[in-house]
Symmetry: C2
Subunit: 432 residues, 2 copies
């Protein structure tokens, strides 16, 4: 039987999980791959108490793994984009296939890395970089390969989804839930990657390139976090029949591609609206198949290891390299489609403002919308509480470009009868 020799760099959460899944499931993995997948070399700054490294070569210098002539596949699980990039490129140049869980690396330097791999006739696999154990890369690259992908929308950051779920179900405020998530270890000490949307943007840009066959363009993603959301808006959205989710959305249009990460109101009867807590899910609209949805654990040692090892089994099963282009088509076939600037992207909007309880305010606000060509779908006005002079005015608009909404909002905020800022959240029906 064929043997495939694996070198793992990084023995942290995912590295340790990968090592142990390969060991625990060795028998079934051998049967499925029709090959023995053996970890022969580990590169890590220190050993992991969770991993039994007896009989395995261990290097403190991870580049030793890339230089090891016996290693067939290098697994990069050190994270970051500087050393990780050097390591991955060294492995490719040495003729090794690479498997990585590093979303930042692929999103920001994938074009260069895939080109280098194509040149050297090796493959770079990254199933674990997006949505943990959910085989979404395989679904897009292979399972849905017959389809023109029209759009996709994903809950692709578990920490953010956990926070939103708690805000909705328990009426807790953002900062409060975040502090708890940090204490429980769900969120990093610096949670900006999660709650500001950078992590989701990394994943979205990879999904979009796979779906639409275009080069990775991380800088073109419009990114808005969930830090400004209030339980008040979460509650109003519920009243209107919507759930607020932090979505990554990629969509093909006649003008180009929309790439955006932002809080979004979605109808509460969608399956995606039911995805709660730290789970991830991606809804994909294919031209032939229609909507399909993929749900599961988006992070964690063993779910992420499941995806890393699936890539290893795929490479072991394949007798020939370059069978599956990293982004679904050969690099020369990637299309240079324009990314639509966010000002021109049209969605319905949820707008909330605090207005003086006086005659004429509503008609003034309505005429500002009208001047910008924005039509109103629904409107809720709350009666003022005892002794209060301000009322909440909630407006659901029809589809309008962000540029027009920007102008309308700044004009509304300038009115004397309006108190403070207008809260704005996009709405998506996700039905076409």
């Amino acid at each position: 039987m064929k043997s495939v020799n694996i070198g793992i760099c990084g023995l942290g959460t995912v590295g340790g999980g990968t090592f142990n899944v390969l060991r625990d499931n060795a028998e079934l993995i051998t049967a499925r791959a029709a090959a023995r997948l053996q970890v022969i070399h580990v590169g890590a700054r220190h050993d992991s108490p969770a991993c039994d490294l007896a009989g395995i070569r261990v290097s403190r210098d991870i580049f030793e793994v890339a230089r090891d002539p016996e290693v067939d596949i290098l697994v990069e699980l050190i994270g970051g984009t500087t050393v990780a990039r050097e390591l991955v490129e060294a492995a490719i140049i040495a003729g090794k296939h690479v498997v990585t869980a590093n979303k930042a690396l692929i999103a920001e330097f994938g074009n260069e890395i895939f080109a280098l791999a194509e040149k050297h006739g090796v493959e770079v696999r990254y199933e674990a970089a997006i949505a943990g154990g959910i085989p979404i890369v395989k679904a897009l690259r292979e399972g849905l390969a017959a389809n023109r992908i029209e759009w996709l929308a994903g809950i692709i950051n578990g920490t953010g989804n956990y926070i939103l779920t708690e805000m909705r179900d328990r009426g807790r405020e953002f900062a409060d839930v975040l502090a708890e998530a940090q204490a429980l270890g769900y969120a990093e000490a610096d949670p900006a990657f999660d709650v500001e949307g950078t992590d989701a943007a990394h994943k979205l840009v990879i999904l979009a390139s796979l779906a639409f066959g275009m080069p990775l363009q991380f800088d073109a993603v419009y990114t808005e976090g969930i830090t400004e959301l209030t339980t008040q808006d979460v509650g109003y959205a519920l009243e209107l029949g919507y759930i607020i989710k932090h979505l990554g959305i990629a969509k093909q249009t006649d003008q180009g591609v929309e790439l955006r990460v932002h809080p979004t109101l979605i109808p509460d009867d969608l399956l995606l609206a039911e995805v709660d807590g730290v789970k991830n899910a991606i809804l994909v609209e294919g031209g032939a198949v229609g909507p399909t949805l993929y749900y599961g654990a988006g992070a964690g040692a063993r779910p992420t290891a499941s995806a890393v090892v699936a890539d290893l089994i795929d490479l072991a099963r394949a007798d020939v390299s370059a069978r599956l282009p990293a982004l679904g088509v050969a690099i020369a076939d990637l299309r240079n489609v324009p990314i639509i600037p966010i000002e021109k992207v049209k969605t319905p909007w949820y707008l909330r403002m605090e207005v003086a309880d006086k005659p004429g305010v509503l008609s003034r606000v309505a005429s500002i919308f009208s001047e910008q060509g924005i039509s109103i779908e629904a409107l809720i006005q709350r009666a003022p509480g005892q002794g209060q002079t301000l009322v909440s005015l909630i407006v659901l608009t029809n589809k309008a470009p962000q540029g027009s909404v920007d102008i309308a909002v700044s004009e509304i905020e300038a009115l004397e009868t309006i108190n403070g800022k207008v809260t704005r959240i996009r709405v998506e029906a996700l039905d076409g």
Copy 2:
């Protein structure tokens, strides 16, 4: 660029859909496969008005396609298990890869067909046979290949799920919804395949073999339809916090494998409980990844074509045959695990009986359960209506083997104070 020559047998709904998806998406399919997928030969009893066959060889004798030396891949879409089997075997012997959407053929004769394909060094692909356009075969065979699959549970018959959804949402009776579904063309004129569970059993046995690496054993599937379900039970289930779904369930246990299709109460907060109408979804519990769910259209011309063409693209991309064993492992590595007889399968139960409103009845029923070692989790008793002497008694049990429940139910039905039959539906929490 490489060309791959395709022969399609059968130009019905799925055949026409496949032909048109290949034509409509030719450009993107060529880029993704790095090969031109050309339909060069069609075998069909008559032409289809939906398909432009200009320039394509057309045979009324479908075996001409299997004999055509220029055909690389034969697509079997004629259905049935007699001629279809001969056709597929002829193609394999002629050295062609085969793609099929025929669940009955694979479920009943897959062992023989896969063995023949292995012998002749070709591949048989069947993504379209299960859950239409959802890439669940690929997910199990490749995406989750690192996992010991603990169990899976699927809504894998759209017609049945449509009927159950209507019964729940509109309080309509089974026969009424079925008649409408037939009029709308959702259900066949002979709906037995759908509502008696045969269609689901075909799909389940394939999913189980893929998940657990064992030979196909269609005869071992326990199958119960939805024809006996009443809106009354659907309503009581809702009150208890459950949705009734017609599920295919496959589960590994220490004693062997459970394979069963039956109406099932599942907790209403599960994502699977939210899958309504004609949609399909499969929930898979992997040892490493935890639960993942795959959702989408389970039937229809273009969704099924999406899966057929995905298989074609996979075969075109692969330079070497036999890269992916049909059931995930080589035939010699399939395990002969026992299928557990349904009498020994343990689940909680929902039991409903109409009892006389007299003292002592409840204690008699309770003692019958107790004698069979069945413990009661919850009990609802409805007060009798005006002028009625019978009350509905609904019992939720803890886990109990079907054999014990059979005995208890027959003893209860023999009581004079019980009217008619006891309604029995299994409960699954689907959490481990």
